[in-house]
Symmetry: C2
Subunit: 296 residues, 2 copies
């Protein structure tokens, strides 16, 4: 399997679909739509929507049923980046090699573009859930996974503790709380929501959740490692910015080599947890490897 | 009918219920919950949740079914105030006579508390909708009303255009766009969602929508008037702040007396539109009058 090509095909498929779900740039609130689209179009790996759709297909569901939810989770991820980059938060000027949203549109519009993306994500999911009355309960359950993952017991919790931990020495428990919530939660949410849309049974959902938790934490650890060893052009953000902010990370707590080992172990466990899907899980297994191997 | 007492009773009833729906202040993300609660507890008229619950009962529904949605709409309203007060937006230090959220918790936490409230509003509505599978479609429709009202074709659209109109002379169409979206949309959303939860038929929903549109615009016009003639202690915000920002308003476009007449006419039409509910509509009619008469 040529994973790079597979991943790129899925990314292109998703991005084509996403275009249909972005509000048209017109009306009095034109600038808002421009700002939303600017960050949505800025690229990135599209990891969450790809995981969501893949999870739907893994359990035998139809990917098309999952598209509005895939767009919604990418919108939520994008809003979180816009707000995270603001001067009052991480104060970043660059994201994926482009000026951050507030650098282009100003802080006020950037805040509202973030708010808009979060709200619009729910609008999309609700609209899709309303389409077929009989199926609506299933979609409501999938929406619940995404809402929880993105919320004050998920992603936002991670961001708050991350913000409060700047320039502080934190222990492993706090670091794990940040990672689990800031990054893993949405990966878990994506995979669980996708599986529910695809009609997963209890056992399948459990296995997918184990996979999700492992690659979620692994992903963040590798991000921390890349923040030290990556180069700016590959990541499109200022390398070492976490170090500059004195953030505690896996490498700063355990060292580089040990961190790589921890990530490797998490990924192996992830792959094992979906072995029951046999060939159908092939892409997700490759993807798990890609997460650790991607840049170093 | 002693409206003031009725209104106060409903406000107290709502606020007691709201306490049960605010996340407990505990865990690593304690500060987040404190910031969310700080602004939720800051009071205000609780107009949107009261309208929502009243609309449910107007069409013969059970108010208790509407409570989580009433809490959700107040959370969305509150988040919009937190973000609106930020330095990059209206830059207000006072709200309802208390320091604004970012003055107490800092800008970063204020942004996240706003995000948290918006997301949590959806979490509450989804959780409630999942409770009874058979009823879930109805709640999904009610959630749709609130999501649209709060979103990029509703409240957020109004905020963006409002922000962009500062220090600019704008025409009546633009002003109406701002009013309709920034304030009316959520009032319409509250009343329509409440009616749907209560089981309204098409005709009832239509009449309630007319009522909602009229009091929504009337409410904003009166707010503009109060910004000129009100006194600071009554409003708990800096009087004349709209004027300072050179915002176009009904009074600045039409003069005070003509603006009062326009508001009065809107309210009369609102009351007529719910006459078919006879005695059951009494409170909402009083409330419509209260909106124009409240402070001047």
């Amino acid at each position: 399997m040529n994973l790079k090509k597979e991943l790129n095909d899925k990314k292109e498929y998703f991005e084509k679909e996403l275009e249909n779900y972005i509000p048209k740039i017109q009306g009095y609130q034109k600038t808002l739509f421009e700002a939303m689209k600017y960050s949505l179009d800025a690229g990135g790996k599209r990891l969450r929507p790809i995981l969501l759709m893949e999870s739907t297909s893994l359990v035998g569901g139809n990917i098309e049923d999952a598209i509005p939810f895939a767009c919604a989770i990418e919108m939520i991820h994008t809003y979180s980046l816009i707000h995270d980059d603001l001067p009052a938060m991480d104060d970043d000027d660059l994201r994926r090699g482009k000026p951050t949203n507030h650098k282009v549109f100003g802080e006020g519009i950037a805040i509202l573009a973030g708010d808009g993306l979060l709200n619009y994500a729910f609008e999309l999911m609700i609209k899709h859930s309303l389409k077929y009355e009989k199926e609506s309960y299933k979609y409501l359950k999938a929406m619940n996974e995404i809402a929880k993952a993105a919320g004050v017991y998920g992603m936002i919790a991670g961001q708050v503790v991350d913000l409060e931990s700047e320039n502080k020495k934190i222990d492993k428990e706090t670091l794990d709380f940040i990672h689990t919530n800031k990054t893993s939660a949405m990966i878990v949410g994506a995979l669980r929501a996708g599986a529910i849309i695809g009609g997963a049974d209890e056992k399948q959902l459990e296995n997918i959740t184990t996979y999700a938790n492992n690659i979620g934490l692994g992903f963040q650890i590798v991000d921390d490692i890349l923040d030290i060893v990556g180069d700016e052009s590959k990541l499109g953000k200022n390398v070492g910015s976490d170090l500059e902010n004195n953030k505690s990370t896996y490498p700063s707590l355990f060292g580089l080599e040990e961190s790589k080992k921890i990530a490797k172990k998490l990924i192996d466990d992830a792959k094992n947890s979906i072995s029951s899907f046999e060939d159908k899980g092939e892409f997700l297994k490759y993807l798990a490897d890609y997460i650790v191997d991607r840049e170093y």
